[in-house]
Symmetry: C2
Subunit: 318 residues, 2 copies
């Protein structure tokens, strides 16, 4: 049997047909155009699903279900989207609508996109075969996905497992969620770029500032690491603070979920062991119970942009 995995984002709808070996047989996308009513977006999803099946000459009887990873607050139990900032949606009965547009009897399930990324890595990526996984997506914000006993843990109701929206430094940097000092405001790529740009401006003679100026005055998530490798003290300080924040946030999630492994994803993972080695080293001193407890390794995710489709497909049993 095949499964359909859908990675619904603010820019594109990505649809993949996934086989029993966790391979994406065909992948198609269409622009989301999120300014439209939710019904139109969902009708487009149904159309792409239908096109992919036609291309592959596969009938709906060979599909065990359709899974969707969606940004925002998702009510997985009821199959609805109470609120999605990226899509400007409120109270969208997603599963019921998609079933209507598919015009087929079909299992349809939905979860948060970061949850799906974690599930994808646990079933087909860096944590393949591992039952208990915490994944942090380090991007514009910080998404979090928790897998316990091979299943997504979302808390009891919509709006749980929001790992990025827990305190790191109460009273600190303002967060998009309305609070201040959330993990997201210190551990996201956005946060690293903010702190690096500030430090570069305060230290105009630093190599990090020179690299920023050579990049049309724009900081990015790679420059601080590059400058650090060139021996720049300003960059080294910024990156070490980032490692401290990240290890501290991960220790919180270890003390709550005690997984077998912690995965990181996002562009910053291009740093590989330059990122994970110092974080693993710091983590040893931070977990409750110390050496008497299971301290999970921190590694980089491996599925990249495919994690969303594969995770969504795995909302449906293979």
């Amino acid at each position: 049997m095949y499964r359909i995995g859908i990675d619904l984002g603010g820019t594109n709808i990505k649809v993949g047909l996934v086989d029993e070996e966790q391979k994406i047989v065909q992948e198609e996308f269409t622009p989301t155009r999120a300014e439209r009513p939710a019904e139109e977006v969902i009708a487009d999803i149904a159309k792409v699903v239908s096109d992919v099946l036609k291309d592959q000459k596969i009938g709906f009887d060979q599909v065990s279900g359709v899974g969707i990873g969606c940004p925002g607050m998702i009510d997985a139990k009821n199959g609805t989207v109470p609120y999605s900032n990226n899509l400007a949606w409120e109270q969208v009965p997603f599963v019921d609508l998609l079933k209507k547009y598919l015009q087929q009897e079909c299992v349809v399930r939905i979860s948060n996109d970061a949850n799906c990324a974690a599930l994808g890595e646990a079933k087909a990526g860096a944590a393949k075969g591992v039952d208990n996984v915490v994944l942090l997506t380090l991007g514009t914000g910080v998404g979090g996905g928790v897998i316990i006993d091979g299943k997504i843990f979302e808390g009891a109701h919509a709006g749980g497992a929001e790992l990025g929206h827990t305190s790191l430094i109460y009273g600190g940097e303002m967060c998009t969620c309305g609070r201040s000092g959330c993990v997201e405001t210190y551990v996201s790529a956005t946060a690293l770029i903010r702190d690096a740009a500030r430090a570069a401006k305060e230290n105009p003679g630093s190599q990090m500032n020179r690299l920023m100026e050579e990049n049309d005055g724009q900081m990015n998530g790679k420059i601080p690491f590059d400058a650090m490798q060139q021996g720049d003290e300003t960059a080294t300080a910024v990156v070490n603070y980032y490692f401290d924040y990240l290890a501290e946030a991960i220790a919180n999630f270890v003390n709550l979920f005690r997984p077998d492994i912690v995965l990181l994803s996002g562009g910053i993972c291009n740093q590989g062991s330059n990122l994970t080695d110092p974080v693993n080293e710091r983590l040893k001193k931070l977990c409750f119970g110390g050496e008497k407890s299971l301290i999970p390794p921190v590694r980089c995710a491996t599925l990249g942009n495919s994690a969303g489709i594969l995770g969504a497909a795995n909302l449906i049993d293979a």
Copy 2:
């Protein structure tokens, strides 16, 4: 059928016989004397269990199992205590030992004491009939228990659900766990007493300082609330900071577990709605998704010292 619930603490072992109506039919205790080898403590537990059953003229065939709430890091899956600071235990195969000393075929289960308190409140106390509960015990430290779908959520391995050992203010007050700025260091009764004593000394003319001096120079968790009610500005500031910290910590756990209700326990709960009203008010502005999400009410636990026995008994199905 009856169940035995055991509340094992650093000072006393409390054993209760619990009936199907969640009533404690008989309760006995004996000193823990934790300086002894674990085997002797466990043998004593078995003896008290046996004594209670004899007293009640109840045979082991009328007991569906024995549950234990134990301080420290508990491996509930394997029935062991990898580490308990209060008992000075390491790697104690608790369930196997107790089964041996009971000399009876019997279901024996163990969990962390705060987990048991949460389960007790969910089955027989302030959250009776509620499936999804977060409980914080505000004492010397901060214990945390999470109930999801009527069952204790402990994370994947021993050392999860340690709610008190997650960040509130990274780099803040030193925590007993070795990190700094944990929830425990701002939200425990110990933390309130520390902050109140500091503020009283810094403001010798305050009513809070007068009340502390009248109490032989000792601060406690009641004085700040008393002084606040008498209009003392110093006390009001301390208590309001405490409310801020507590609401912020609760918002973290709402964003992770999204329970139906949050319970608080410990001596500080004698303040009742003087504690919960301001915390509930603050919480409205802090939860991810705001009004679009389920914001659980914060209430005080009601079982008091019985929560441990009742929770432990409920590790066994009624």
